[in-house]
C-alpha cells in the first residue's frame, strides 16, 4: 500500500533537483492534450498518460503536460499541441500511446518534429500524389 511517508521521502529526494529547476524556466516545453468529450471518447486519456510517463521515465523535468478543452476539430482527436521555446507551435493529430512516446523521443528529446503526425500531413500527401500524377 502506498503511504504518505513515501511521499515525504520523495520530497526529500527530489527537493534539490526541483530547486535547480526553478532557476531555469526558459527551456520549458509544454504539451497540451485536448480533453473534451470528443478527445476523451477518441482515447485522449491514455495518450496524455503516455506523454507524462515517457517524459518522466526520461527525467525530462523541463516538460509539462497539461490539458485543454475542445478546439473544434473533433475528427482529428486525440490531438496535442507541443510548444518548444523559440519554435512555432506544432499540432499533432490522431494520436495513440505509441505516437505520443515517439513525439517525446523524436521531437522533444532529439529536436525533430514528426512531420507525418502533424495536422495537415494527410492533405499534404494527397497534394503530392496529385502532383505525381501530373
Amino acid at each position: 500500500m502506498k503511504t504518505m511517508a513515501e511521499l515525504e521521502a520523495i520530497r526529500k529526494q527530489t527537493l534539490e533537483r526541483i530547486n535547480l529547476r526553478k532557476e531555469d524556466k526558459a527551456d520549458e516545453v509544454r504539451i497540451v492534450v485536448g480533453m473534451a468529450t470528443c478527445g476523451i471518447a477518441a482515447g485522449a486519456r491514455p495518450v496524455m498518460m503516455a506523454f507524462m510517463t515517457e517524459a518522466s521515465r526520461r527525467h525530462l523535468s523541463n516538460v509539462t503536460v497539461s490539458q485543454t478543452g475542445c478546439i473544434g476539430m473533433c475528427r482529428y482527436e486525440p490531438m496535442a499541441d507541443v510548444f518548444v521555446p523559440g519554435q512555432k507551435k506544432i499540432t499533432y493529430v490522431n494520436l495513440d500511446e505509441a505516437k505520443a512516446r515517439r513525439i517525446v523521443t523524436d521531437h522533444i528529446v532529439n529536436g525533430h518534429p514528426v512531420a507525418e503526425l502533424m495536422i495537415g500531413a494527410d492533405e499534404d500527401k494527397t497534394v503530392s500524389k496529385e502532383e505525381d500524377k501530373q
Binding site: K2, L7, I10, L15, I18, M48, S56, S61
Partner: protein, 184 residues
C-alpha cells in the same frame, strides 16, 4: 463513452471548466450492485434555465461548436442500466451531479481504468482545482485528497516523475482494494 472511468473523466472536465477550486468525486457501490457516482464542485454553477436545457445535445457552454455531448451521453449510459442522472446547481453555488448505475444490468458499461482517470485528472491539473476522490464499498472507504498530497510534498510539484509513479500506484491500490473483483 466506452466505460465509466472515461465518463467520469469527461464529466469532471465540466467542473474544471466551471472554475472550481475544489472537486469532490465519490463512487459508492452497495450490496445490490448499485453504483452511485457523484461529482461535486464549487464552480460557477448553472442558472435554472441552463439546468433545464443541459440534457439536450444542442446546448453547450462552449463557443467553438454548437453541440455538447457530455451530459446527454452520461444520462443515456446510466439510464440504459435502469439508473439515471441528476444535477443540482445554482449560480455561484457550484454543481452536484449524481449518476446511478445498476452494475449487474447487462447494459452497464465496465468500470474501465478508474486509476488512470484519477491520476490523469490530478496530474493534468497540478495547481488547481483540489481533488478529493473517495471510493466506498462493503469493504470500506478509501480516499485520495490532493491537499494532503501537497502538504506531504511541500514545494515538490505533483507532476514530478517519482510522484507520478506514486500516484498511479496509489490510485490502482485504492481501486483494487475497494472494487477489485466486484467491478471490472
Amino acid at each position: 463513452m466506452r466505460d465509466l472511468s472515461l465518463q467520469l473523466m469527461d464529466l469532471a472536465q465540466n467542473s474544471i471548466q466551471a472554475g472550481a477550486g475544489q472537486v469532490g468525486i465519490s463512487l459508492a457501490l452497495d450490496e445490490t450492485g448499485k453504483l452511485t457516482l457523484m461529482i461535486r464542485d464549487d464552480g460557477c454553477g448553472m442558472s435554472a434555465e441552463l439546468l433545464n436545457q443541459v440534457h439536450s445535445p444542442f446546448v453547450t457552454g462552449r463557443t467553438t461548436r454548437k453541440v455538447g455531448m457530455g451530459i446527454p451521453l452520461a444520462q443515456n449510459n446510466a439510464a440504459s442500466t435502469g439508473g439515471g442522472l441528476e444535477i443540482r446547481s445554482a449560480p455561484g453555488q457550484g454543481t452536484e451531479l449524481t449518476l446511478t448505475y445498476f452494475t449487474r444490468h447487462i447494459d452497464c458499461p465496465p468500470l474501465g481504468d478508474l486509476a488512470q482517470t484519477v491520476a490523469a485528472l490530478i496530474l493534468a491539473n497540478p495547481q488547481c482545482p483540489e481533488f478529493r476522490v473517495s471510493l466506498t464499498s462493503q469493504r470500506g472507504e478509501r480516499a485520495l485528497d490532493t491537499r494532503e498530497l501537497k502538504q506531504a510534498l511541500g514545494e515538490v510539484p505533483l507532476n514530478t516523475a517519482e510522484v507520478i509513479a506514486w500516484l498511479m500506484e496509489a490510485a490502482q491500490d485504492m481501486t483494487r482494494d475497494i472494487f477489485g473483483g466486484e467491478l471490472q
